[in-house]
C-alpha cells in the first residue's frame, strides 16, 4: 500500500476497496494529530539539549590531540601519587540523616581492573527505597506512551448492506428484524468495538519518572552492577579488547556505557559497533528500560555528575509557583 489515504472521503473509499472484515489501517497519516503534536514537543525539548551538547563537544574535538587533557589513568601511569587514592565529591542537597554510598573509580584504559580511587554517591539517588512498583510504572509508561491501537471494526453505518427489511414483520416464525447490519445477525456489526487509531499516550507524573531513574540506579548499585569509569577512551578499536575487558571483570552478558555527551570517542564506537549487547548512550537518553535490560551499567565521572545534578534538582523542586503558567504545562513533555 504505497498511497495511503490522507482525507476522509478517500478513507471510506479505501475501506470499501479492502472489504468489510476487521483489519488494520497501517500508517494512516493525520489520523491522530494529538499524539504527533505531543511527540514533537517531546522531541524538540530533547533536541535542544542534544544541540547544546554536540556544539560544546565539537569545539573540543576540533582541538588537537596534544592539547587534550590527559585522562586520570594516563596521569596515574606518569605519577601514581598525583592521583589521590580517595576522592571526595561535593554533593548538592546533602542528606543529614543518611551517609553517602561509595564506589570504585575504575578505568577502561587496560583490560585488567585498576582502581583509580573511591567516590561518594548521593544516597537520595543511589540508595533510594527499592520500590519495584515504581519501576513497573516507568516500564509500562515507556511501552504505552508510544502505542497507537490501529484496530477498527465497522459499526452499523459502516457496513455496506441494504436497508431493505429482511423478512415480513409477521407469520415467518422468526424474530422481527430490519436490515442485515444489526447485532443479532451473524453478519451484523459489532456494537462497541475498537474504533480506529486510538492513542494510548499518557504522561507519568514527573515525580514517578525521577524516582524511577533513582530506583533503577539504586538497584544497580545494590546488586553490584554499577561501575564508574573515568572516561570511555580505550587504546584500540579492536572489538576483542572490549570482550576481554568485560570477561576479566565479569561484567556479564550485556553492558550499557553512559557518557555525558552524545559525541563518543572514536575507538569505542568502532569496538562496540558489532556487539548488539554492548551499547553506548548519552545521559539524556538514560531510561529505566535500558538500565534493566542491560546487566551492567557503566557511568563515566562526567555522566555521574550530570545525572546526580539533574535528579536532585527535580526531586527537590516544587512547582507550585509556576503551576498555572503556559511554560510549565509543556515543560514536562
Amino acid at each position: 500500500m504505497s498511497n495511503y489515504p490522507k482525507f476522509s472521503y478517500e478513507l471510506t473509499h479505501f475501506k470499501k476497496m479492502l472489504g468489510q472484515t476487521c483489519r488494520r489501517i497501517n500508517k494512516c497519516l493525520n489520523a491522530c494529530p494529538r499524539i504527533e503534536f505531543k511527540r514533537n514537543l517531546w522531541r524538540s525539548s530533547l533536541c535542544q539539549q542534544k544541540i547544546d551538547i554536540t556544539l560544546k563537544y565539537t569545539d573540543e574535538a576540533n582541538a588537537s590531540k596534544d592539547n587534550r587533557e590527559p585522562t586520570l589513568y594516563e596521569k596515574f601511569l606518569q605519577n601514581p601519587k598525583s592521583v589521590p587514592l580517595i576522592t571526595s565529591r561535593k554533593m548538592e542537597y546533602p542528606n543529614k540523616y543518611r551517609p553517602p554510598r561509595q564506589a570504585w573509580l575504575e578505568t577502561l584504559s587496560t583490560a585488567e581492573d585498576h582502581k583509580l580511587g573511591m567516590l561518594d554517591l548521593h544516597p537520595d539517588v543511589f540508595a533510594v527505597h527499592p520500590r519495584l512498583d515504581i519501576l513497573y510504572h516507568n516500564l509500562r509508561w515507556q511501552e504505552f506512551y508510544k502505542k497507537i491501537d490501529y484496530n477498527w471494526t465497522p459499526s452499523r453505518g459502516d457496513l455496506d448492506v441494504t436497508h431493505r427489511k429482511q423478512m415480513p414483520q409477521k407469520r415467518s416464525g422468526r424474530a422481527r428484524n430490519r436490515n442485515r447490519s444489526s447485532v443479532m445477525f451473524r453478519t451484523g456489526a459489532k456494537p462497541l468495538g475498537p474504533r480506529g487509531p486510538r492513542a494510548l499516550f499518557y504522561m507519568l507524573p514527573k515525580h514517578y519518572r525521577v524516582q524511577g531513574l533513582c530506583t533503577a540506579l539504586s538497584f544497580k548499585y545494590a546488586q553490584n552492577n554499577l561501575h564508574i569509569v573515568d572516561s570511555l577512551e580505550i587504546p584500540t578499536d579492536d572489538p576483542e579488547y572490549i570482550q576481554d575487558l568485560v570477561d576479566t571483570r565479569f561484567w556479564g552478558f550485556s553492558a550499557l556505557f553512559v557518557d555525558d555527551t552524545d559525541y563518543m570517542p572514536e575507538n569505542i564506537t568502532y569496538a562496540l559497533a558489532d556487539y548488539p549487547h554492548y551499547n553506548l548512550l548519552p545521559v539524556y537518553g538514560l531510561n529505566v528500560r535500558d538500565m534493566l535490560k542491560h546487566e551492567t551499567l557503566i557511568l563515566t565521572l562526567a555522566a555521574l555528575e550530570r545525572i546526580e545534578q539533574r535528579l536532585l534538582y527535580h526531586s527537590n523542586r516544587s512547582r507550585s509557583s509556576s503551576k498555572f503558567s503556559m511554560e510549565s504545562r509543556y515543560d514536562q513533555y
Binding site: 519501576l135 538497584f219 546488586q223
Partner: protein, 291 residues
C-alpha cells in the same frame, strides 16, 4: 521496613530485570463487574421496570420537587468566617475572686493561664479556636485581692480594678500549639515533645498587644508606666507604690516573647520519669530555638 534493610535484602535476591517486575497488588484495579455470572442473568441485579432498571433515577438529594434539605437553609453574612475567628472565653473577676477565696488559685504566685486551667473551673478548648482568657468586668466592685495575672484579653475597667488594689496585669499572646502545652503541662511532657517556641501574634492582633493601654507584652514598659498613671487619674484612685511591696521580684518576673513556661526554654524536653531535662545539642536546632 527501613530502606537500609530493604537494600540489604536486595543484594541477595536475583538481578532485577524486565522479566522480574510486577505491579504492587494494592495498585491493581479490579475489572468492572459485567454482571454476567450465575444468578445475574435476566435483569442483571436491577429489578423490574421503573427508574432503577431504566437508568433514569433522579440526582442525589432530589425530593421530587420539594426544596431539598441542602437548599432550605439560607446563608447569613453575619457568621461568615466564624470558624476562623479567634475566641477568648470569658472569666469574670467575680469567678476569679471566688477561686482565690476557695484556694484554687494562689495569689502569692503569678497567675498564669496554666494555673487557671488547672483549677478545673475554666474550659479552654484549643481545637475550637479558643486563644486564651478574657478577664471580664463582672464583679469588679467585689474584687479585693492584689494579684499578678497574665491574661490574653482585658478591658480598661478590669485593668483599673487590678491596679487599684496594687496588682499587676499583663496581656500576652499564645499560639494554639503553645496553648496545648500550657493547658495541661504534665500531659504534654509525657508525650515527649520539645517545649514549643511561641509564635508572634497575627497581623490583626499585633496592634492590641503592642498597645501600652492594654498592658501588652510587646509594648514599651516606660509607656506602660505612663498609662498606669493616666488610668488612675481617669478612674480617680491613688496609684499604689509597687516598689515598697514584698512581691516586687514576682511583679518584675516576665517571660520572653518566645518563652512559654517560667524557667524553661523552648526546645527542651522534660522527662518526668527520670526527672531530667534534655536540651538540644545540634546547631541547627539551637539556631531555630534561639531565633
Amino acid at each position: 521496613m527501613g530502606i537500609e534493610k530493604a537494600l540489604r535484602m536486595v543484594k541477595d535476591l536475583p538481578r532485577v530485570a524486565l522479566n522480574n517486575i510486577k505491579n504492587s497488588p494494592m495498585d491493581q484495579k479490579k475489572p468492572h463487574n459485567l454482571r454476567r455470572g450465575w444468578g445475574k442473568n435476566k435483569t442483571h441485579g436491577r429489578g423490574h421496570k421503573g427508574q432503577g432498571q431504566r437508568m433514569t433515577l433522579p440526582k442525589l438529594g432530589f425530593e421530587t420537587g420539594q426544596k431539598p434539605f441542602y437548599q432550605l437553609m439560607p446563608q447569613e453574612k453575619y457568621y461568615e468566617g466564624h470558624h476562623l475567628k479567634r475566641q477568648y472565653p470569658p472569666l469574670s473577676l467575680l469567678k476569679l475572686q471566688r477561686m482565690i477565696d476557695l484556694g484554687c488559685v494562689d495569689p502569692n504566685e503569678v497567675i498564669d493561664i496554666t494555673s487557671i486551667c488547672m483549677t478545673g473551673h475554666y474550659n479552654l478548648n484549643v481545637h475550637q479556636r479558643h486563644y486564651g482568657v478574657n478577664l471580664t468586668e463582672d464583679g469588679a466592685e467585689k474584687f479585693a485581692t492584689p494579684i499578678i495575672i497574665e491574661v490574653q484579653w482585658a478591658s480598661e475597667l478590669t485593668i483599673a480594678t487590678i491596679e487599684k488594689l496594687g496588682g499587676v496585669i499583663m496581656t500576652r499572646f499564645y499560639d494554639p500549639l503553645s496553648l496545648i502545652a500550657l493547658k495541661d503541662p504534665e500531659m504534654y511532657f509525657k508525650t515527649g515533645k520539645p517545649i514549643p517556641k511561641c509564635k508572634l501574634p497575627p497581623t490583626d492582633a499585633v496592634e492590641y498587644y503592642s498597645d501600652p493601654k492594654n498592658r501588652g507584652y510587646l509594648a514599651d514598659p516606660d509607656k506602660i508606666a505612663e498609662e498606669r498613671v493616666a488610668l488612675s487619674q481617669k478612674y480617680g484612685y491613688e496609684l499604689p507604690d509597687l516598689s515598697q511591696s514584698d512581691k516586687l521580684s514576682l511583679m518584675l518576673k516576665r517571660k520572653d516573647p518566645r518563652q512559654i513556661f517560667f524557667g524553661l526554654q523552648p526546645g527542651w524536653i522534660v522527662n518526668l520519669v527520670d526527672k531530667k531535662i534534655l536540651k538540644p545539642k545540634a546547631e541547627y536546632l539551637q539556631e531555630y530555638y534561639n531565633s
